[in-house]
């Protein structure tokens, strides 16, 4: 008998070490996470005629409509902060807002959608939410291409700070995975949780300056506080500053961005894994 044979693989009495076990699992199952992301992308792209182009085209259509409606209103004179044309400003805004709302929804529905697997074999369930978040991040990366083209040809050009963009990208992944996990256990109990989340994330996205500019509400200090206290606002500020501004954003935006990401992920993983025992029998 070898030593491996007698190893305890599973003992229901040994409690997980909260957070540590889950983060170890994220690392241990990284191969599976990659496969799940690839599956997500291939299945989606096989179904659509336009394939991978749809990911790029879809936000572009939204952006096109918003541009037609609002460019005369907000973009007149091109007096935006970094001298960028309105279309560049708008595109950056929509991309961040889309990443956020689609990421939260995808991570939030991943557990219910994996029901078939989760009730038949043991896989740490958080893996599925993280994989859905990574898929949303991949879509975001693809849709960066048109933004970079716009910035290069119409905008202020691409600054060196572009190399810092992976930072908000990774932090946003943490934010959406964490928030998604908070939603995920509730979604097992109630069907309408995901619909409510969809509405709430949309609402949150109107509260950040995607197509509108901050001077639009400059007269109201209360509105300013409301907008600036939204963590997604900080992501947007940092993203715009690094993608085409070529400067360093205010420190408080960086702190808010990193802080909300770490907090959301830790809280999401903690709450989710604490509840899983009760949730799984209702899956």
């Amino acid at each position: 008998m070898t030593a491996a044979e007698s190893t305890v693989r599973y003992d229901s009495d040994i409690l997980r070490r909260p957070l540590i076990t889950e983060f170890q699992n994220f690392w241990r199952f990284r191969g599976l996470i990659r496969l799940l992301v690839v599956r997500d992308l291939t299945v989606r792209y096989k179904r659509s005629v336009l394939g991978v182009w749809w990911t790029i085209l879809n936000p572009m259509l939204t952006i096109g409509v918003l541009w037609i409606v609002f460019s005369n209103f907000f973009g007149r004179g091109g007096a935006l902060e970094f001298g960028e044309p309105y279309i560049v400003y708008l595109t950056a805004g929509i991309l961040i807002a889309t990443y956020f709302s689609q990421g939260v929804i995808a991570a939030g529905s991943a557990i219910v959608n994996s029901r078939n697997v989760l009730i038949k074999m043991y896989i740490p369930p958080e893996i599925f939410s993280l994989a859905a978040g990574v898929a949303a991040a991949t879509h975001f990366c693809l849709s960066l291409i048109p933004l970079l083209l716009l910035t290069a040809f119409l905008g202020p050009g691409i600054p060196w700070t572009i190399v810092l963009v992976p930072i908000p990208l990774a932090l946003m992944l943490m934010l959406v995975t964490g928030l998604g996990l908070l939603v995920a256990s509730a979604a097992v109990y109630f069907r309408d949780v995901l619909d409510i989340t969809r509405v709430l994330t949309q609402l949150l996205n109107y509260l950040i300056p995607t197509f509108w500019t901050l001077d639009f509400i400059a007269g109201s200090p209360k509105a300013l506080v409301l907008v600036k206290s939204n963590p997604v606002y900080s992501f947007l500020v940092v993203f715009r500053t690094w993608v085409y501004g070529g400067e360093m954003p205010p420190a408080w935006n960086l702190i808010m961005m990193a802080g909300s990401a770490v907090l959301a992920l830790a809280l999401g993983v903690y709450v989710f894994s604490r509840n899983w025992r009760r949730v799984v029998v209702r899956l």
Binding site: M1, A4, E5, S6, T7, V8, R9, Y10, D11, S12, D13, G31, L32, R34, L35, L36, R39, T42, V43, K46, R47, N116, V117, L118, I119, K120, M121, Y122, I123, Y189, F190, R191, D192, V193, I196, R277, V280, V281, R282
Partner: protein, 243 residues
């Protein structure tokens, strides 16, 4: 030497909502009106047993006795409500085979994904694709979406992936009846090979004939409780004559 499977005084409760409350709105309304429709189902109640290496442990019982629930507890899918489960070694769960497979993906993609879900290294799975499809007898359909597979072919493929390693613990819930006669003989041979290699096997089946041929020990479950536990022939005969 400790046994690979130890189940000690395990209880499992399901929560059943008779009103099937599915939305926050309904739940809130019911709370306000103080309508409670929740019921607890004791799917398992004080179940204890052990399975040794090289042993085939058969589990029988009427529909709803708690057999599948017990398999899910051993496979770590469901945590026991009370009691304790200890499993030593790698587990290959065979509960509704193929549920991890996606019909849009090809057999090759599915083998790698399914293997990774069972906790195996994707790199290793890539190398195992050929032997796995060969054993399942679907080598002509490796790179077509499994959407075009018959359910028997799907079951064979999944069985082939699940038993591609030599797991120390094999949990089988009603899956040996998939596939044709030739495949049944083949899968039987593979099971025997695993057992001779020292695996502990738990088999749930309604086919008493098959269990009589395979099992060394057996357990008869009825409404979550052990009705009989011991030598396979005795338990299975007892279950058969109970009508």
């Amino acid at each position: 030497m400790s046994n690979p499977i130890e189940v000690r005084d395990v209880t499992l409760r399901y929560r059943l909502d008779k009103a099937n409350v599915g939305t926050i709105k309904e739940a809130a309304l019911r709370t306000i009106r103080r309508q409670r429709t929740v019921e607890w189902i004791h799917a398992l109640d004080g179940v204890s047993f052990e399975v040794a290496r090289g042993e085939i442990f058969g589990v029988v019982g009427p529909n709803g006795a708690g057999k599948s629930t017990l398999m899910k507890i051993i496979a770590r899918v469901l945590p026991p409500t009370t009691g304790r489960v200890i499993v030593r070694g790698q587990v290959a769960p065979m509960i509704e085979l193929g549920s991890g497979m996606n019909p849009e993906l090809t057999a090759r993609e599915n083998i790698i994904l399914y293997g990774a879900m069972l906790g195996r290294d994707p790199k290793h799975m890539r190398e195992r694709v050929e032997p796995i499809v060969e054993w399942a007898g679907v080598e002509d359909f490796v790179d077509v979406p499994t959407r075009s597979y018959s359910s028997g072919m799907m079951g064979r493929l999944a069985f082939s992936v699940a038993t591609d390693i030599e797991p120390e613990v094999l949990v089988v819930d009603e899956v040996l009846s998939v596939g044709d006669k030739a495949f049944r003989a083949k899968s039987q041979a593979r099971m025997n090979q695993l057992i001779n290699g020292g695996s502990a096997v738990v088999v749930v089946s309604h086919s008493i004939e098959m269990l009589k041929n395979m099992a060394t020990r057996a357990m008869w479950l009825d409404r979550g409780r052990i009705k009989m536990l011991g030598d396979a022939n005795e338990v299975l005969s007892g279950y058969l004559t109970s009508g």
